[in-house]
Amino acid sequence: MTIQRRRFIAAIGTGALAGVAGCSQQSGGGDESDGSDDSGEMDGSDSSSNGGSDDGPGVAGETLTLTTTTSTYDTGLLDAIHPDFEEMYGVSVDAVAQGTGAALETARNGDSDIVMVHARGLEDEFMRNGYGINRRDLMFNDFVIVGPTDDPAGIEGMGSATEALTAIADAEAAFVSRGDNSGTHTKELNLWDAAGTDPGGDWYQETGSGMGEALNIANQQGAYTLSDRGTFISQRSEIDLTILVQGPIGDGPEILANPYGVMAVNPGVHDNANYDLAMAYIGWITSPGVQEMISDYESNGEQLFFPEAVSENPDFQQYVPDGWSSGE
């Protein structure tokens, strides 16, 4: 027994040593890995952009947290254009894909520095509450109503989105709704509102999922759904759904327009927000060069987003909530 006790003490000792070593290594490792997250980025971009920026911009090594929508993220657009920004400033961008509602909520809690979303009503509310500033129109595409090729509700080619929805409701044809407070979901609810129909019943299913998932569900169930054109195009080869009602890009009704906006989190509300970098990002992404990159970005051979930040006649309404006037 005493032998065992001695062994035990030895084991405890070794264990403690190992534990301490593990801990110091762990914290070291943690720092290191976090460091390598940042410094790795920094090194990478430094080595690639060192030539021009020896004294480097003051933001080098920082991280910009961008909350955005699944529709911008899943199309691969951000991955395609962000290296340019990261090289230019020696920073890294953490893009977190959420729905528009969740993206704004994360920013509202001060957990992101900048938001890129597509629901003007929610963006306006965000600005009015003081959380977002310096909003810019960024780009647009449009929504399309997609459905099975046999089109049980007979909406193909309709020129009115609201009539199409009414027809779907009248036929009680299966319809998949995002149901997740995203930009697309918000648009869909606005459309039902405009159609004067209150959707409900077995045929109307709220999935509470991202656009890609909603398209999959609609595909499997032969249902209609409202999709942004970008996600639909990037996923079209995987599914059998087809566009039945076009948006404005395909000469459809203007009500299906899908404008994206970008805005910085107000540093007056959240003083930890990386405002400098957020503004640098807004300046970068609304610049002619990057707007052209957005325009050139294709998936399955089709353009997904149409830039609208650069204009001879800037639309001043883009900076302020809808209906705002200085007399308020």
């Binding site: 035990f8 961008v93 957990d111 995987e238």
Partner: protein
């Protein structure tokens, strides 16, 4: 190791639409987060289980039922709780942990601790009373008795750690919420794990790649189990 599925999966792996380093980086993040979380959990859980196995105190049954409830705690709820804690508005907000691996470790620690504690406790209490008595009769102290019990219970404790690891690495809800599923634009994972990568692929309808990533996850869990069982057979505690 079953070879045939691996062979079938190979073409799919070759056609992976992923950039170099992407898959290895998400495997790295998965293992990094889960192993640290489970190690921390084990450091807390096993002593707690041993003390609870040896000491009787009032409210012990209550503590037990709290631990058992913790085993069934939904991971999204844990994710939300950790989110509230590490969010800029939360008590730990100033540490800026949100969307980092550290936040993911926190949530997995919360998830893994209850099963490791509960299963270890069951293993410790499952050691027959007469083993304990024999140790005392042979002149051992309480400490010696405890050692004998740990030695007898080592398989159970190993199972507990594996269960905790299984829960941590296969969990998707909380790491998605507190980690944010981030990769940098060069395709290297920052907070994307195998599970959140599967979720992302499934969201985009790429079920085949999702399945392949899922198979990788299963293979890793299998490997870890094999290693631990082997260690238990040869190296074992106190042999």
């Amino acid at each position: 190791m079953p070879l045939e599925p691996a062979v079938e999966l190979l073409p799919a792996l070759l056609e992976f639409p992923f950039r170099e380093g992407y898959v290895t980086s998400i495997i790295y993040v998965s293992l990094y987060v889960s192993i640290i979380a489970v190690s921390l959990s084990t450091l807390v859980s096993v002593p707690v289980a041993i003390v609870m196995g040896f000491v009787d105190f009032r409210g012990k049954q209550f503590v037990k039922s709290v631990i058992n409830t913790g085993m069934g705690f939904p991971s999204v709820v844990v994710g939300l709780l950790v989110l509230f804690a590490v969010s800029n508005q939360g008590p730990l907000g100033s540490l800026e942990l949100i969307f980092t691996k550290k936040a993911m470790i926190m949530s997995q620690f919360v998830l893994a601790t209850p099963p490791i504690t509960a299963i270890s406790l069951a293993a410790v209490t499952g050691v027959e009373g007469n083993v304990r008595d024999a140790a005392r009769v042979l002149g051992g102290t309480r400490l010696d008795a405890a050692l004998v019990v740990i030695k007898e219970a080592r398989y159970g404790i190993a199972t507990a750690v594996l269960a905790g690891f299984g829960r941590a690495i296969s969990e998707v809800g909380s790491v998605l919420i507190v980690g944010g599923n981030i990769t940098s634009s060069d395709g290297i994972s920052k907070t994307r794990t195998l599970t959140t990568a599967v979720q992302l692929e499934a969201r985009q309808g790429r079920y085949e790649t999702a399945m392949v990533l899922g198979a990788v996850l299963v293979a890793i869990v299998l490997l870890v189990n094999a290693v631990v069982v082997r260690l238990g057979d040869t190296g074992g505690v106190g042999r």
